[in-house]
Symmetry: C2
Subunit: 313 residues, 2 copies
């Protein structure tokens, strides 16, 4: 399997590559309790209703403590398990740095080759992983729910900037309108900040939102949903579709796709480089660590030595 | 400043290195709303009462949306701002991958050289960053509070395995005993899991907890606190001290310190390697991304080419 990184997986992915590039990858993220799984279940249903092949990859930061319990969430999508046009699968991240975005991006590519029109990349649990998933997606959906404590504040830093569409789920609960208002405020504030000094360092889509008169900029949408009752889902799908159209038909959208591809390549490069270095240097790293512990060398000099050695080999 | 990565900072750190190695670095992590800042304020007070020099580094995953608000937390420690033996500072992570652990570890080292007996490395906000901070610390304190939604489940995967001491803060609230019981259960369950097949792949301290009869293993402590009323803090300091003694006086503790140093070196190596590669390859990365977009090459082959080029140069 692709997420096992067994021998031959690179060859497999290379062979599949020419058959990819058609699927639309939607990252779905949000805090536990926001109802992501139920919402994904509804999204599958709506996408299937228009005849599309759909895949869901649930990215699970597995831990011996929480692994099992969190996977239980998948049960919410089980009515689709018998549908041959729906593929649902969990990927454990195994604590590998950067491993997640790679596994997720790779699996999305395989499902693209399989013919999925849409791949939902859902993050499971609380995680370091949202940004990685976002990086592998074309469109990012952030799911929130009122009354989850810190609400808008509890969204991880960095995620707000990446969100293309927000679902305020469980919108029948008290506080939903407050959550929507908070989000609108945050987005306005963010656009303000981004139009200032930081603009150049931010990613294109976020920055372009803030450019006055940039008619092609995508304004993040906010949709109220009650996934358990199928309310607001049609509108949500519509907003997600709008973002896809923006990506495909506008210059700003195309620029963002190109930028995302560049980011993915750099992230992939980082991972492979680190893997190769650790494997090539082998015991030299442990020796360097021992010398650092004995105060014979400082970590900066040790690192320089190791890198020089890796590049020479 | 060290966290600015300006020219000369490596030289500065190399020069300081021989003067380091005495400070005890305590990572403080936990969800927003758990009262981490107030607890840190109390820890400063107790450590100062025994005459120690104390430093606090608040690691802030800055975002244009939440940056300002979260930094406001620092106000809870402001009564210590006039004390020359206390250093308090926020470090923004600027979204750099791996940048955080490096900044945090570097700053801890500078504060070590300054003569801090204890450096508290506090994570701010929700974050991908807890594990990085943990990696830079000798002892990890995880702060929880009852009634924060998913409680134990909401703790990020990976953190439970790293925790040496738990503070169940706001223990005067309803549900505190449930949180303590859940934690005890999770720890027992984790020990169970870790004594099985995964033991070898887990870090030493976590694994050694599960070894029957390993008298030197450190059993994570759980302390109920009410930071606002200074309750339980003396006991908390005591448990943190116990962990420090374990690290310094037992074979298992020393092995764990060595392992941590090794992990830090590998993480540092990853970062520096990626930095050097991105800088050395420059426009070649963008060219490769364009070729990937045009389906002329797959990302795996492109990455191999880039790495070969980096190593040759």
């Amino acid at each position: 399997m692709v997420d096992d990184r067994s021998a031959g997986y690179r060859e497999l992915l290379s062979e599949l590559y020419p058959h990819t590039g058609r699927a639309w990858v939607v990252g779905v993220t949000g805090n536990p309790g926001s109802g992501k799984s139920t919402l994904c279940d509804r999204l599958i249903q709506h996408l299937r209703a228009r005849g599309e092949r759909v895949a869901v990859v649930a990215v699970d930061p597995t831990s011996p403590f929480s692994g099992g319990a969190i996977l239980g969430d998948r049960i919410r999508m089980q009515r689709h398990f018998d549908d041959p046009e729906v593929f649902i699968r969990s990927v454990a991240t195994r604590g590998a740095v950067g491993g997640l975005s790679r596994s997720a991006a790779d699996l999305a590519r395989v499902l693209d080759a399989w013919g999925a029109a849409t791949v939902l990349l859902e993050t499971v649990g609380v995680g370091q992983d949202e940004l990685d998933v976002t990086r592998a997606a074309h469109t990012t959906l952030v799911v929130m729910a009122p009354g989850l404590g810190d609400d808008v504040q509890a969204i991880k830093a960095g995620i707000l900037e990446c969100a293309d569409v927000f679902a305020v789920n469980k919108a029948d609960r008290e506080g939903a309108d407050v959550t929507v208002r908070d989000l609108e405020l945050m987005l306005a504030l963010g656009a303000e900040v981004l139009s200032g000094a930081e603009k150049k360092t931010r990613r294109h889509s976020a920055a372009s939102r803030a450019v006055p008169g940039a008619s092609t900029a995508f304004t993040p949408a906010i949709v109220k949903t009650v996934a358990t009752r199928d309310e607001g889902i049609a509108e949500l799908v519509d907003k997600l579709d709008s973002h896809r159209r923006w990506l495909e038909t506008t210059d700003a959208g195309r620029a963002r796709r190109a930028e995302r591809l560049h980011e993915q390549l750099v992230a992939f490069l980082r991972d492979v480089l680190a893997e190769q270095a650790v494997s090539a240097l082998g015991p030299a790293i442990a020796e360097a660590a021992a010398r650092i512990a004995a105060q014979e060398i400082d970590p900066y000099a040790a690192c320089d030595e190791l890198i020089a050695r890796f590049r020479r080999e």
